[in-house]
C-alpha cells in the first residue's frame, strides 16, 4: 500500500473525455472560425480594402438599423417563416389525418412522400424552376390555364417570387410534417378513443378533444424543426430568385451572403449573420419551452 501524494485521475474519470476528443477536436476546428467571425463582426473588414481594417465596436450592428434592406429582409425572414410554418404544419396535419384513415394505396403514397423530402433542396428548386417557366411553355401555367388562371409571372414579379419560393419549400417539406404526425397518429393509445366513444363523441369532437391534444407534442416538434429551417432558408431562394426581384425574397441569410460574397464586406455580412443566429437561438429557446410544456401535459 503506497500513499498517493496527490489526487490521481482515475481512468473512469477521463475516459469519456478521451472518447469524445476526436469529435471535439473536429468541432473545435469549426468553432474557432466562428469565434473569428464573431470578432470580424466588430470590424470594418472589407476584403478589397484590407488597409481600412479596424475595430469599430458595434458600428456594423447599429448600421443595420439605418439600412432599409435590413428591415425588409428581417420582415421577410419572419413573415416567410410564419406563413410557411402555418401552411406546412396545417397541410401536413391534414395529409397525416387523411392517410391515417384507411386510404387505399396508403403504403405507396407514404413511400412516395419520402422522395421530395430527401431531394437536395437546390435540385428541388431547379425542378420547379423548369416547371414554373413564365413563358407559355411552362407546364404549371399550362395546367393553371385549364382552371382559367392567366399565365403567372412566377419569378419575375414580387408577389410571384414569394409565392414560388413558398410553393417549392412546401413541396419539399410537407412530407416531413406529414410523416412525423402520421407516425404519431399510428402510435396513439386506443383507450381515450374508447372512452370518447362511450361518451358519445362525434368525429369532430374526437378530433378536437382527443386526437389534437394527444398529438400536440409532435405538432410542436414539427413546428420547431420547420421554424428553424424556414428562418434559414437559402438553397431554394438562391437557385430561383437570388433574393429578387427588387429584393422581394431577400431574407437575412441571402442579405448576409450578398454583403459578404458579392460586395466582400465581411464585417457587415458577419454582423447580419450573428443577428440571424441570435434570432434563431431566441426562437428555438421559446419553442423548446413550449415543447417541454406540451410533453409534460400529455405524459
Amino acid at each position: 500500500m503506497t500513499l498517493q501524494p496527490r489526487r490521481h485521475w482515475r481512468r473512469e474519470e477521463y475516459l469519456p473525455y478521451l472518447l469524445l476528443a476526436p469529435a471535439l477536436i473536429l468541432l473545435a476546428g469549426m468553432v474557432y472560425p466562428f469565434a473569428l467571425g464573431l470578432y470580424y463582426s466588430f470590424t470594418s473588414y472589407w476584403l478589397q480594402y484590407p488597409n481600412r481594417f479596424r475595430f469599430v465596436w458595434f458600428d456594423n450592428y447599429l448600421g443595420l438599423l439605418e439600412e432599409p434592406l435590413f428591415a425588409r429582409a428581417l420582415g421577410f425572414t419572419l413573415g416567410f417563416t410564419l406563413v410557411a410554418v402555418v401552411l406546412q404544419v396545417g397541410l401536413g396535419l391534414a395529409v397525416a389525418l387523411f392517410l391515417h384513415a384507411r386510404i387505399p394505396g396508403r403504403a405507396v403514397l407514404r413511400a412516395l412522400m419520402l422522395l421530395p423530402l430527401m431531394m437536395p433542396p437546390v435540385i428541388t428548386a431547379l425542378m420547379w424552376k423548369i416547371m414554373m417557366a413564365s413563358t407559355n411553355a411552362g407546364i404549371l401555367n399550362y395546367i393553371l390555364s385549364f382552371f382559367g388562371v392567366d399565365p403567372v409571372n412566377w419569378f419575375g414579379s414580387m408577389e410571384g417570387a414569394i409565392v414560388s419560393v413558398l410553393i417549392i419549400d412546401t413541396w419539399g417539406n410537407l412530407p416531413f410534417v406529414s410523416l412525423i404526425l402520421l407516425g404519431a397518429l399510428q402510435a396513439l393509445p386506443a383507450e381515450p378513443y374508447e372512452a370518447a366513444r362511450v361518451d358519445g363523441a362525434g368525429t369532430v369532437a374526437m378530433l378536437r378533444y382527443v386526437t389534437l391534444p394527444l398529438l400536440s407534442p409532435f405538432i410542436v416538434l414539427a413546428v420547431m424543426f420547420r421554424t428553424m429551417d424556414s428562418l434559414r432558408i437559402f438553397d431554394v431562394i438562391y437557385a430561383t430568385t437570388l433574393g429578387g426581384p427588387n429584393d422581394a425574397t431577400t431574407n437575412l441569410q441571402i442579405m448576409a451572403y450578398q454583403y459578404s460574397f458579392q460586395w466582400y464586406q465581411m464585417g457587415k455580412g458577419m454582423a447580419q449573420a450573428i443577428v440571424l443566429l441570435l434570432i434563431v437561438v431566441m426562437v428555438s429557446w421559446l419553442l423548446m419551452r413550449l415543447w417541454n410544456r406540451a410533453a409534460e401535459s400529455t405524459s
Binding site: 384513415a101 403514397l109 378513443y193 460574397f261 428555438s284
Partner: protein
C-alpha cells in the same frame, strides 16, 4: 355489439373515415399523388426532350425521346459547341461521391467513440455537450461560412476535397453522434454488464457488444449521413471551385448569363436525384428519425 366485445386492436379505426364519401377520398389520394410525383415525371420527360420540344407551346406530353441531354452531360467539357463554358458534370458527380464518402467516414470514425461516451458514461457537462452538438442542427450556415472562406483562402483549403470534407463535419458529425447515441442506447445494458463480468474492458464492450449489436443502426446512420452530405449546397457554393463542385452546385451552372440549358439541367437534376431516391427507399423507416436527430423514433 361484436365490436365492443373484441379488444380494441388498432387506433386506425377512427370513425371519421366512415363518413367521408369514397369519391372525395379517391380525389384526395389522386391529388396527393399528383402533387408528389408529377414534378419528377415532368422533369424526366423534359430531360428526354430536344431543345425544340422543351420550348414548344403548348407543352408536349408526346414526343420522340432523345438521350442528347444525358449524352451532353456525360461528354462533359471536352466536346460540344459551348465547350469552354459547359459544366463538367461527371467530375461534379465524382466530387460529390468523394466529399460525401469522406465526410461520412470521418464522422463515423470520430462519432463512434463520442456516441459511446454519451450513451454509456456519466460525466460532468454531459448534457451541456449533447445540447451543443444538437444546436449545430439549427445554426445558420452563413455565420460559419464567412470566416471559413477567409481561413480556407489563407491556408490553401479553398477548392480542395479536404477542406470540404472538414466543413461538412458541421453537417454530418453532430448528426452521426446523435444518431449513433440513440442506437447505442438501445443495446440492452444487461449484455454490457455480462461482458464486463466476463472480463471485457471498455474497449471490449465497444468492439464485441455495442458495435456488433448496433450494426444495422450504424448502416442507417452512414446512409443518412451520406444523403445529407449529398444534399449540401451552401458550404460548397462558397468553399469549392470548378474542380471540386459537387452535383448540387454543378446543377446550377446550367444557368448562365446567355441562356438556361433547360434540357441538360433537367438531366442533371435527374442524375443528382437518383442516389437519393434509391437510398431513401432503403432507409425509409429511419428518415424521420434521422431528420429529427433521433428525437422522433
Amino acid at each position: 355489439m361484436t365490436t365492443q366485445t373484441l379488444p380494441y386492436t388498432t387506433p386506425q379505426a377512427v370513425p371519421y373515415q366512415r363518413y367521408v364519401p369514397k369519391l372525395a377520398v379517391a380525389l384526395g389520394a389522386a391529388l396527393l399523388l399528383a402533387w408528389t410525383v408529377f414534378p419528377f415525371l415532368w422533369i424526366l420527360l423534359t430531360s428526354l426532350k430536344s431543345s425544340a420540344d422543351i420550348i414548344s407551346v403548348p407543352p408536349k406530353f408526346v414526343f420522340t425521346p432523345t438521350f442528347d441531354n444525358y449524352a451532353a452531360l456525360v461528354m462533359g467539357e471536352q466536346r460540344g459547341q459551348y465547350s469552354s463554358t459547359r459544366p463538367d458534370f461527371p467530375l461534379f458527380f465524382l466530387n460529390s461521391m468523394i466529399i460525401s464518402l469522406g465526410a461520412v467516414a470521418l464522422s463515423v470514425l470520430a462519432g463512434i467513440p463520442a456516441a459511446y461516451a454519451l450513451a454509456r458514461f456519466t460525466f460532468p457537462f454531459k448534457d451541456a455537450l449533447g445540447f451543443v452538438l444538437m444546436s449545430f442542427r439549427f445554426v445558420p450556415f452563413i455565420a460559419f461560412v464567412i470566416p471559413l472562406y477567409l481561413l480556407y483562402q489563407r491556408f490553401g483549403l479553398y477548392n480542395t476535397h479536404t477542406g470540404l470534407i472538414l466543413a461538412y463535419q458541421l453537417i454530418t458529425l453532430p448528426f452521426t453522434i446523435w444518431m449513433l447515441r440513440s442506437f447505442f442506447q438501445e443495446v440492452p445494458i444487461e449484455i454490457q454488464e455480462a461482458a464486463k463480468i466476463d472480463g471485457c474492458s471498455w474497449l471490449g464492450v465497444l468492439m464485441r457488444v455495442i458495435l456488433p449489436l448496433s450494426l444495422p443502426g450504424i448502416a442507417v446512420t452512414v446512409i443518412l449521413g451520406f444523403m445529407f452530405s449529398w444534399n449540401a449546397f451552401n458550404y460548397p457554393l462558397m468553399l469549392a471551385g470548378r474542380q471540386t463542385f459537387p452535383v448540387t452546385v454543378g446543377a446550377i451552372q446550367f444557368i448562365s448569363y446567355e441562356q438556361v440549358l433547360w434540357g441538360q439541367m433537367a438531366a442533371a437534376t435527374i442524375v443528382a436525384a437518383v442516389p437519393q431516391l434509391l437510398l431513401s427507399l432503403m432507409v425509409q423507416k429511419y428518415i424521420v428519425r434521422g431528420l429529427t436527430m433521433g428525437a422522433v423514433k
